[in-house]
Symmetry: C2
Subunit: 324 residues, 2 copies
Amino acid sequence: MNSFELSKTAAKRLAGKAVLTPLLRSDLLDAELGGRLFIKAECLQRTGSFKFRGAFNKLTSLDAATRNAGVVAFSSGNHGQAVALAARLYDTNATIIMPKDAPAIKIENTRRYGAKIVLYDRVSEDRESIAAGICSETGASLVPPFNDREIMAGQGTMALELLEQIGAAGERLDAVLAGSSGGGLVGGIAAVCAEAAPHVRVHSVEPEGFDDLKRSLELGARVRNSRISGSICDALLSAIPGIIPFEILKAHASPGFVVSDDEVRHVMATAFRYFRLVIEPGGAAALAAVLSGKCPIEGRTVVVVASGGNVDPSLFKDVLNTMH
Amino acid sequence: MNSFELSKTAAKRLAGKAVLTPLLRSDLLDAELGGRLFIKAECLQRTGSFKFRGAFNKLTSLDAATRNAGVVAFSSGNHGQAVALAARLYDTNATIIMPKDAPAIKIENTRRYGAKIVLYDRVSEDRESIAAGICSETGASLVPPFNDREIMAGQGTMALELLEQIGAAGERLDAVLAGSSGGGLVGGIAAVCAEAAPHVRVHSVEPEGFDDLKRSLELGARVRNSRISGSICDALLSAIPGIIPFEILKAHASPGFVVSDDEVRHVMATAFRYFRLVIEPGGAAALAAVLSGKCPIEGRTVVVVASGGNVDPSLFKDVLNTMH
């Protein structure tokens, strides 16, 4: 099966399990922007991010004996919560390897979904080798965050939904923007749009200093970020695009955008004000590319994915302080 | 037509105009509560509250000549925004009479939807006579906030939606809770449930000191609040239940609940944490009745309506400060 067909299969598996998240718009903001801006509110997804789609689809794709031996994932927090809940729904064990500096809300939630947590230091330790060690010791399977066809297909189910929702709203879609860490989300969207809506432009959005995908797309080859921390967009800090999503993106993605932490903070306040949504920094990146004017939407119909909403209250208070 | 049939007509009018708001749940919170708690997220409705349903339905029910002469409404803010947008969609003028102490975000939004704003003092001035004066001067029609069959039928469309959504989720609904000001929302819900799901208990929720509906239901006759201000639930401060909703509620509602401002603040933080939703104080009252333990949900399936999300950032910051 190609990626589009894998996404259609994933959509059947996720029916009744994942939330069919709403596509929201603001009359006031549209009047200001002169275009039609829709938010696909994945911050309302189970576990608070789109990651549940890929994780549940991946666990479903495993044979029962493999799944029953347990799963392992490394994650800044959203993939970890998603794998933890998917494992609980399948009544199997999950071990999640998380950086010590992950948002407290993400660590606490992952634990409460029933997973065993292993914290590591992002500078001195390598999460992939910690995960490999646990897998070989326990016989558990690794659930990768993005470089996996079933994970990417799960994320792509969101694109199937939003194309249907846009059609029901009587709109013709011009572009979709989504934040990118390893490219699993935007790759899944690109794979679906390439087949089902090839006229739609699919753009990745990354934080300043972590624009590995944007630069990789320009070069036609995967390049790495020089930094591993230093943006409030904790969910978007992967070092390099995944091989599998990059193959799709190289063929089907439009140029990427880059946004600053200040632009992201401002947009989190805008989402509070106009959409009544709590969006985490990484989840606000796509909206920031539009509201900063980098992706103009005048006369166009554009969907931005609000990919997650797990944000510590202290950071959200700082964001509200930026409002006049 | 009876109220149920009016709601079905309203649902047809609202299709493609109102947001089909999602029914959300939290795996973590459900595990804690031992029940199935769903939030009907009307804070994601157009204009940020359920009020758009009633306002748009009412304007649709007017004949064109009447509607073109303009509309007038008095409102603490959510009904005002809803009437302002509905008027704009019908290309007619709206004048909204709002208390000077309404939340700044509600006054500003109402103006930006294109309405003329008249501010009044809640202690020394009477909003109904101001509205009557404008109507007789200009020939405009009053769009009442709740004591109107078309308004109540519009609000009732939310109940049609949530019954369908609960059915699609494979659940059998036990109870619905919604905040009450004049009773338009909870009356609309009760009218629909009485016909379509008579086993469902419908409870109103009011702030302490403003429990006119609860006491009226106990007495079987409408009684008035002694206070006109003094709760953070600015949307729930009407003096007395509307005659039309009370007739329905007297026959079909279960006993009402009362919540404190502190319980409401706590629940706004919970909604941020577990649902990634921005809920205003009045919109959080129904959830507060559950999370305070006043309406136990162990072993039950309960929907609470998050009726609005228009809250000033300064108040929301105070709420986040209550989180540990």
